[in-house]
């Protein structure tokens, strides 16, 4: 393709992304070194925002909770998603219908999903989950106590995002050839051995994609926390992004401070991303 055609076709999108993504991102980095009250130009303060963040126990708590949440949710999501994908791969009739309904909790707006999900744990709404737990003599204050609230947030993440994991892994499973599996069976390999030595290695790129997406989404969690636990700070479920909202637009209008949190989150994200970026780069260069 000639350069002129390339510019004509790609130009508008590139300009749009430059103006509305790159410029804001650079602004965020600049702001992170400034004191920026909403509606006013910033004044340079060097590393003051970062120093304040690292001394703030509220930020450190939010950071620790977010990282823990991302890791726990990711591990459980991938384990459950893989189990469901293996089961779904065995389903013959009605697979697409089941998949369609499975996707409901993933596609419904997260605000609505989180709201409806949390009602099952709310005694005002009949306390469905607690009535079930009552059968074994357990009662949990899901929306009042710290660890139950954290559990609730993770359970919601599973309910909301396992369908995505199932979808991606199922697509991967369907690309696997039959012959190696049959050969392994003839050689007397059991189910675990076939998973361990054949399926998981063959799906390694798919697994790493899912792990990566899930970790990054976990670090960015916002919607469900704000909806299910509005008093996140007191409850111990404050995430990095709900913290940014409170600092930049909620209780104090400090855009610079919020930007510093965003920069730290981006640094972690990009570190996680590097292996995936290398494969994208190679794929694109190979053409």
């Amino acid at each position: 393709m000639r350069r002129k055609d390339f510019l004509t076709l790609a130009g508008p999108a590139v300009l749009l992304m430059a103006a509305l993504l790159l410029v804001p991102l650079v602004t965020t980095v600049v702001w992170s070194f400034q004191n920026v009250p909403v509606g006013q130009p910033g004044t340079f303060t060097g590393l003051a925002n970062y120093a304040e963040l690292l001394r703030s126990s509220r930020f450190l708590n939010a950071g620790a909770f977010t990282v823990g949440y991302a890791i726990v949710a990711t591990v459980l999501k991938v384990a459950l998603g893989y189990a469901l994908a293996l089961l779904l791969a065995r389903v013959r009739r009605g697979r697409t219908v089941l998949l369609g309904f499975l996707l409901a909790s993933y596609i419904v707006p997260s605000v609505v999903g989180a709201l409806d999900f949390s009602w099952l744990f709310n005694d005002v709404f009949g306390g469905v989950v607690n009535r079930g737990l009552g059968l074994v003599g357990v009662q949990v204050n899901w929306l009042v106590d710290t660890w139950p609230a954290r559990t609730l947030v993770v359970l919601h993440a599973l309910w909301h995002e396992v369908p995505f994991v199932v979808l991606v892994l199922l697509a991967g499973l369907q690309t696997l050839p039959e012959e190696p599996m049959e050969a392994a069976s003839l050689d007397g390999a059991n189910w675990w051995q076939k998973q361990r030595y054949l399926v998981v290695p063959a799906l390694f790129p798919v697994f790493s994609f899912v792990l990566l997406i899930s970790l990054m989404d976990g670090l960015k969690v916002f919607d469900s926390i704000r909806i299910m636990t509005p008093a996140a700070e007191q409850l111990g479920t404050e995430s990095l992004m709900t913290y940014v909202y409170q600092v930049a637009l909620g209780d104090s209008l400090r855009l610079g401070m919020g930007s510093a949190v965003n920069v730290l989150t981006m640094v972690v994200t990009v570190l996680l991303l590097i292996p995936f970026l290398r494969s994208t780069w190679k794929g694109a260069r190979a053409l």
């Binding site: 390339f6 219908v97 089941l98 409901a104 609505v112 409806d116 009602w119 709404f125 697509a171 794929g283």
Partner: protein, 302 residues
């Protein structure tokens, strides 16, 4: 006569054959049983995962006295006042319409700007294409606030705060990298020979794109369109930050009602969530082919 003679011929043919058939029949039976068991388990999980929506639906149609009892009330006459109240007593209808408007505008802008760019990235052999693609991956993963806080200040400065224009621009920008990744995957599946044939027949590069490539890109464009459309209904953080009254979308409205935290608004909320869940579930089932292609395809190929 060859050394590769099947083993059956060396032993008692009939007995071996019968044993073989029995073993195969047992294997088929086992597999069929496994399939049934898998179907039952998956169906149970799927039903379980739909419980929150069923419960919200029940809450919406129960009379007020029955909706918030513990233990739950199971015997009641369904009534649909909550939907009427939602429609007439709140701004839900107007906000739904506004969200729809934003969604359609976002889809149009996204496809008009994104599709040609994705085509160019898929076909251009230079170094710019790969660089932009890697950039697109990075941008897809950046925290929303890192983009939206500056956009918030900029929108306030130029008087676009709380307008649909700002919202559409932000939705398109934030989701452009994902759309590009998705569409580049689809364009790569179209053989280059198709472009070449069109250009041999006298089309310019742009003409080839418009007359030959776009028509065969139907599924790809629909997939990208469905995702962009859903974004307008799903995205909470961006809409929360960039709107206040005039350009509010459904998620912001629902979150704000939830903030009231009064039992009297709970049934309205339940009605609102059902009013959204049903059409979106319909879209999910109707467009599942495209959703699956969009969510799974890129990942597996990439």
């Amino acid at each position: 006569m060859s050394v590769l003679t099947p083993r059956e011929d060396l032993t008692f043919p009939d007995a071996a054959h019968a044993a073989n058939t029995r073993a195969r029949a047992a294997k088929v039976r086992r597999e069929r049983l496994g399939t049934v068991a898998a179907t039952v388990v998956v169906a149970a999980v799927v039903l379980g995962m739909l419980t929150p929506f069923v419960w919200a639906g029940l809450t919406a149609v129960k009379p007020f006295w029955a909706a918030f009892t513990n233990p739950p009330t199971w015997v009641f006459t369904p009534q649909f006042e909550a939907f009427g109240d939602l429609w007439r007593g709140t701004h839900f209808a107007a906000i739904l319409l506004n969200t729809l408007l934003v969604a359609i505008a976002a889809v149009l802008v996204m496809l008009v700007v994104g599709a040609p760019a994705a085509y160019a990235f898929a076909r251009y052999a230079g170094i710019i294409g790969p660089i932009l693609l890697v950039l697109a991956v990075v941008l897809r993963t950046v925290p929303r606030f890192a983009v939206v806080l500056p956009l918030y200040e900029a929108a306030r400065a130029v008087g676009l705060y709380d307008t649909n224009v700002a919202l559409v621009a932000a939705f398109v920008a934030v989701n452009m990298p994902f759309t590009l990744l998705l569409l580049v995957g689809f364009f790569r599946d179209i053989p280059v020979e198709l472009d070449e044939a069109a250009m041999v027949d006298g089309c310019s590069r742009l003409g080839a794109f418009r007359r030959v490539i776009v028509p065969v890109m139907g599924p790809g464009l629909v997939t990208a369109g469905v995702f962009t459309f859903l974004v307008a209904f799903q995205e909470y953080l961006i809409a929360l930050t960039l709107t206040q009254n005039d350009a509010v979308t459904v998620p912001v409205f629902i979150a704000a009602q939830r903030g009231a935290d009064e039992t009297s608004t709970y049934q309205l909320l339940a009605a609102a969530s059902i009013a959204l869940v049903l059409p979106i579930a319909f879209i999910a089932v109707a467009a599942r082919k495209y959703l699956v292609a969009g969510l799974g395809g890129g990942a597996v190929k990439g």
